[in-house]
Amino acid sequence: MSTLQIDKTIDARGMACPGPLMNLIGAIRQGQVGQIFEVLSSDEGSKTDIPAWVAKAKHELVEVVEDGGYAHFIVRKAR
């Protein structure tokens, strides 16, 4: 993983779909433009839903890193 400054980490491992996405949306809404959010999710749905929502909401998916049983989704609040 790159050495980005993460402003907020949301550990949603173990949560069912669409929980991790909803937690990300809630955090981004409360955050500031430019902040970097990290979501940890073991939900398979997150792999399609987080990128789809981030594109739709016009934020930036910085990277997705698989980490044995879960994934890190790094998202920058772009607006």
């Binding site: 949560m15 669409p18 929980g19 996405l21 839903d49 789809a52 929502w53 739709k56 016009k58």
Partner: protein
Amino acid sequence: MDEQEKPLSLVLFSGTDDKLNAAAVLTVGAAVMGRPVNIFLQYYALRAFRAGKVCADHALAWEATDALTHVIHAHPGQHWSELLKQAKEVGEVNIQACALSMDMFHLKQADLDPLVDGIEGVAAFMTSVADGQVLFI
């Protein structure tokens, strides 16, 4: 969300927890992707939205055998009412009770959970549907 998306309209007829949960998941998905959602509650689905009854056990559809019932109850997913609440927070979700079903079951707005925004007839619902899709669940 910049562009205006077509609404998704759900007619909820069944009042079992599995069908309500499936409908709530669709609602969350549409709401987060910027689509307005109209929900029209009829028959048994309406009864599940009575005040104080939302979190009661509404059983499962007939496809759920005893074995599957255990699997479904063991899953950590959120309750459909919680998903609908979240959908309302992030998007435009309008939940209306069918006037005919309200009349059939002798219900008034005060008898319903606050998730229900109002009571309307089918013609008013069709106005909200506009040129979007309707799903009957």
